[in-house]
């Protein structure tokens, strides 16, 4: 990767961080498993899609998630690990299926999957910390499925939007994709 690629991914990470700061406090107090991943999912999908569109290399999404995670690390290890684990799974899936982000479908999949994948990691930690009984309350299957669905739909919608914006800006000569 070149310096300008990494700078671009860092700016995307700043945008992802900003989205998190704006959306997560709105739902922090709601005791529904995975709800924190839902309001930001659309924007995560959009920004990660743009990141992967511009820097079409395996690791782009991980870089953005990890940088966002490093900022969150200055509050808690848990948030950092959630990000990195979800991003690693995304990169693995994309690498296995497409070997990179050269195809738009790969970008759509990777960027769309990230937000819903943060839910299982969050949930496991919540159950571990909260104990068995709270775990039973939280792990209500239909609630978790609903959050996964919501985050997934919004994540993919965001990724689709990101690709659309990328295409328009590429035509205008502003976003030069690799």
């Amino acid at each position: 990767m070149k310096t300008r690629d990494i700078v671009f991914l860092a700016i995307m990470a700043a945008a992802v961080t900003l989205v998190g700061f704006l959306t997560i406090p709105l739902v922090l107090a709601i005791p529904i498993p995975g709800v924190r991943s839902v309001p930001a999912a659309l924007f995560y999908g959009l920004l990660l899609a743009l990141g992967a569109l511009k820097v079409r290399r395996i690791g782009s999404i991980l870089a953005i998630a990890a940088l966002n995670g490093l900022v969150l690390l200055m509050m808690s290890w848990i948030m950092f690990l959630n990000n990195v684990i979800a991003a690693l799974i995304v990169e693995l899936i994309v690498w296995l299926l497409f070997r990179g982000y050269q195809k738009e479908r790969a970008i759509l999949l990777g960027a769309g999957l990230y937000a819903p994948l943060t839910i299982p990691a969050n949930l496991l930690v919540a159950i571990f910390i909260g104990g068995e009984y709270l775990g039973q309350l939280l792990a209500t299957p239909w609630l978790v499925a609903l959050m996964l669905l919501a985050a997934g739909v919004l994540g993919f919608a965001g990724a689709f939007l990101g690709l659309r914006i990328g295409k328009e800006l590429n035509k205008a000569g502003i976003l030069k994709t690799a």
Binding site: R4, E168, L169, K171, A172, G173, I174
Partner: protein, 488 residues
């Protein structure tokens, strides 16, 4: 034209240079450039927008080929070495570049860290870096341990300049470094450049504010259509500059009907007052120019008139016709056109708030941008974007047009067209205009009435004569230092 000697003896040596950004393009951005600049020279690059000034700078510092992938023919040498044979890191050890847009260049959280960044990249020892941080923070009037978050726009510009100067390269390239700088800071910077070039460095400035820089320049290069058409020494340059002003149109037609009345208005950002005890009345049909240093309150006054900012105290009265349809009756054009463009063609942009297609075509013609109608606005040059933004807002046919630095990046042609258009709008629709500007060309032609702000107060309010007073005060302050007197 300069006498081309040899690359080894020169700071910058260019021979048979042709540059274009893509091999598929038919025309060249720069054509047939032969240039030699030696140590001790302070060169000003002047010319119309799009004529190749920034491209010339980015060819010298290697950015054009190594970052933008430009197609370059000919030879460019800095300090005897071919730029093509060096990577950006090596070039940056010889050539320092000050870019426009300070806000987007600062990534540290404290002043001294940002100033130190370039020196860290050079691998200098911490002790040497610390010394340079102290020196250049002092020169630019910055406090090393200040948080960057609290800096003003002008301070951030000075910070970026300090960061580059601290690297102490032999050649300095500065792209409009005086933008956002107030008179005192501009004088300090130009004085430093004067001193440092006396000691053997080379500096090249791209700057539209020739009134400020010419007293310090040793040479003026004028570019036109990618070629150097004039290569003047300092005396020739100053004489030539006086002929560059567009002619002033006599137009002091304004009615007695009041549009805005401010009485003891105070506006603050947070706790800090920006406008203090401001009282004035604006009338229909007036062409008003607001002059003042950075931080004097020009933009805040425009934003107050636009209704974006509420006064903390005092009274702001708007005419009934402005109150009824505030968004349509007062058009505000931001400094940065990128904030106000969002459609995918120029036509749609101008048509967005236009009352009819006929009106849209009329404004496309008025602004001379009909030929751009199918282009994506974001793909245009900065000067074109600015015209499109103004056209789009003007197409609403507002009663008042508020323009914040509309001439930034505009060449004389663009400026002339803008002035003609504002005058035409006044004739046809009775549109008043209020323009905040640093640009003497713009103020000279548009300033029927001049509001001179100082430190948030209305220092003077008068007719066109104030323009000369204001800019002559600057010119007097920017007298060339006496040979042999060093500030360093």
């Amino acid at each position: 034209m300069s006498h081309v000697k040899s690359p080894a003896a020169s700071s910058i040596w260019i021979k048979d240079l042709y540059v274009r950004y893509s091999a598929e393009e038919a025309g060249w951005i720069l054509e047939d450039i032969d240039l030699e600049i030696g140590p001790g020279e302070l060169v000003v690059l002047s010319g119309y927008s799009g004529t190749g000034k920034s491209t010339l700078l980015s060819t010298i510092n290697g950015v054009a080929s190594k970052v933008f992938g430009a197609d370059i023919r000919g030879l460019v040498c800095v300090q005897g070495e071919n730029v093509e044979s060096m990577d950006l890191g090596h070039i940056s050890r010889r050539v320092g570049t000050v870019l426009q847009g300070a806000e987007a260049q600062i990534f540290n959280l404290q002043v001294d860290d940002e100033v130190a960044f370039g020196s860290e990249n050079l691998g200098l020892s911490p002790a040497v870096i610390a010394e340079r941080v102290r020196t250049y923070c002092g020169l630019m009037g910055l406090s090393p341990d200040q948080a960057i978050e609290g800096l003003s726009g002008g301070q951030k510009q000075r910070l970026v300049i300090a960061s580059v100067l601290a690297m102490e390269q032999g050649i300095l390239l500065l792209d409009e470094p005086l933008a956002n700088l107030d008179g005192a800071s501009a004088k300090d910077l130009l004085g430093f450049l004067w001193d440092t070039t006396r000691q053997g460095r080379t500096a090249i400035l791209v700057e539209h504010r020739l009134d400020m820089v010419l007293p310090y320049a040793t040479r003026l290069l004028c570019l036109e259509n990618g070629r150097i058409v004039q290569d003047l020494d300092q005396a020739q340059a100053e004489r030539s500059y006086l002929s560059l002003f567009p002619g002033r149109q006599n137009s002091s037609r304004c009615s007695t009907s009041e549009l805005f009345r401010l009485a003891h208005v105070e506006v603050a950002h947070g706790h800090a007052p920006v406008l203090r005890d401001l009282s004035l009345t604006l009338h229909a049909g007036e062409q008003v120019v607001i002059l003042g240093e950075n931080g004097s309150g020009k933009t805040t006054l425009l934003r107050t008139l636009a209704g974006l900012v509420r006064p903390r105290s005092g009274e702001l009265w708007r005419a009934p016709q402005l109150r009824e349809q505030p968004l349509k009756s007062v058009g505000y054009v931001c400094q940065n056109p990128n904030y106000q463009l969002f459609m995918d063609t120029v036509y749609k942009e101008v048509d967005f708030q236009s009352e009819s297609a006929e009106n849209t075509w009329a404004f496309l013609d008025l602004f001379g941008i009909r030929h751009l109608q199918e282009r994506h606005p974001l793909a245009l040059s900065e000067g074109q974007k600015r015209l499109v933004t103004i056209a789009a807002i003007a197409a609403m046919r507002p009663q008042v047009l508020l323009l914040d630095e509309p001439t930034v990046g505009q060449d004389h042609q663009g400026l002339g067209r803008l002035i003609e258009t504002l005058e035409e709008m006044r004739r046809r629709y009775g549109t008043s205009s209020v323009v905040a500007t640093h640009d003497v060309r713009c103020a000279d032609v548009l300033g029927d009435r001049v509001l001179w702000l100082e430190d948030g107060t209305l220092a003077r309010d008068g007719d066109h004569g104030l323009v000369r007073d204001y800019f002559q005060r600057h010119t007097a302050e920017h007298q060339r230092p006496v040979e042999g007197q060093s500030r360093l």
